[in-house]
Subunit: 231 residues, 2 copies
DNA sequence: CCAAAAGTGTTCCAAGTACACCCATGA
DNA sequence: TCATGGGTGTACTTGGAACACTTTTGG
């Protein structure tokens, strides 16, 4: 350890739990590490916070650098937790990681950059714990729980779909994130009855196998009264 | 800035929002700073995390060092948020603070130690924003909101009272933290009806001005089903 | 006796659940 | 026409809010 004055020296990283839906499946954005430690293993995207850079700005920057995803597509990063147990990073430096969570709609395929050999969407159900580098399995779990809870209390789910969507698309989000089936009839009434949650788009209909659905866009509501509940 | 290898250097602190009830009032533990910067101003207790020390351990240590309060009395520290905007600490070093919240019952008067000129309980209603050093007013606000929300969903409130307590003492906790009056009748039914929340203590009664109340101790429940709601 | 706090009963209403049933389209 | 998913109606149940009322103490 090198001391500048009287206090111990730390490195600080921003680590990201970016979630999206791909073919009805909840997926997390991972990178395959191109450098030691844990070279070749999957990890959450992230990296060192720069001098004079705010923590949240570092998160957006790392997202762009490691995965090529435009930060403008993923507004609304939320701080999750900070992980700093000694030894969680095998490097000699003491590393403290500030983790962030985010949900995105129709995010593009990532392209690897900087320290990442590869960047990809991985369905969360396909992940065994030991596949991830560092303590990232734990961070991912915390992020998933935060996302599940966020759907209950806030209008977050609309971030998972496009700008215009049907009620069943929205229900698909809840079912994928919560991992359970919801009653279509009750879900319909619940979301359409919550003030400022959904705004009907004039006259539009969409096509599918059955009766066409109405199309909505997200309303100004941010918190849901009353909350949508999981079982 | 001094670099050890390729990454910027940070100092990491643990800052504490410790809440308790003193004469029906919600109070926060503050210290009067004895050293620059902000010497003479009130601040949340806290200090630098040591080398090879876990973040949570640093929080407990700082509590003991700065206020003389035995960490054994304040189990259950919960991580709040991490604050790291450049310039939030006027010192040349970049300082990132991991904040923690906790509720305690019947905590003793603090005694100042290390960097603190004074340590004291301050009713949160007596605080104007600009009285606190750094961005501690914001951290305190976030901590208060976390505590208020915690009372809704978890059995946290029992941490604010002694090992044995009456239903109206518990109601006093909710009223002080939420800053609103609750219906004694409905509160009674709610808490006594929540499984594993309260355990009656055999035959005991307490004395006051009216009819004596039954005495309970905290049960094993940690989450409340259904939650107790604020207005 | 009266005041005050503890505790119960009861009524009303908001909201979740389950499920029957109708609607509008494609094949 | 039937299958499929969209959407409404409705009956049941759970739990919160309001408040009347009874109980048990101190003064």
């Amino acid at each position: 350890m090198v001391y500048r004055s009287e206090f111990p020296v730390f490195a600080v990283t921003a680590d990201l739990v970016i979630l999206t839906l791909r073919e009805q499946q909840l997926c997390v954005l991972l990178v395959r590490r191109g450098v030691e430690p844990y070279a070749g293993m999957l990890a959450l995207p992230g990296g060192f916070v720069h001098e004079n850079e705010d923590l949240v700005d570092a998160a957006y920057r790392e997202l762009a650098e490691e995965t090529g995803i435009d930060p403008a597509l993923v507004t609304g990063l939320e701080q999750l937790q900070t992980y700093g147990t000694p030894g969680r990073d095998p490097r000699p430096e003491r590393v403290v990681s500030v983790a962030w969570v985010m949900l995105g709609a129709n995010l593009p395929d990532p392209v690897a950059g900087s320290d990442a050999a590869e960047a990809l969407w991985v369905p969360v159900t396909d992940l065994c714990e030991q596949e991830l580098a560092f303590d990232h399995a734990r961070i991912l779990n915390d992020g998933l729980e935060r996302a599940r809870s966020g759907l209950e209390h806030s209008a977050l789910a609309t971030a998972f779909v496009g700008p215009e969507f049907t009620v069943s698309e929205l229900r698909g989000v809840y079912e994928a994130v919560w991992g359970e089936r919801l009653d279509p009839a009750n879900f319909q009434r619940k979301v359409t009855g919550t003030k400022d949650f959904l705004i009907p788009v004039k006259g539009q209909l969409s096509l599918g196998r059955g009766r066409p659905a109405r199309v909505y866009r997200a309303g100004p509501a941010t918190v849901l009264h009353p909350p949508l509940r999981r079982a």
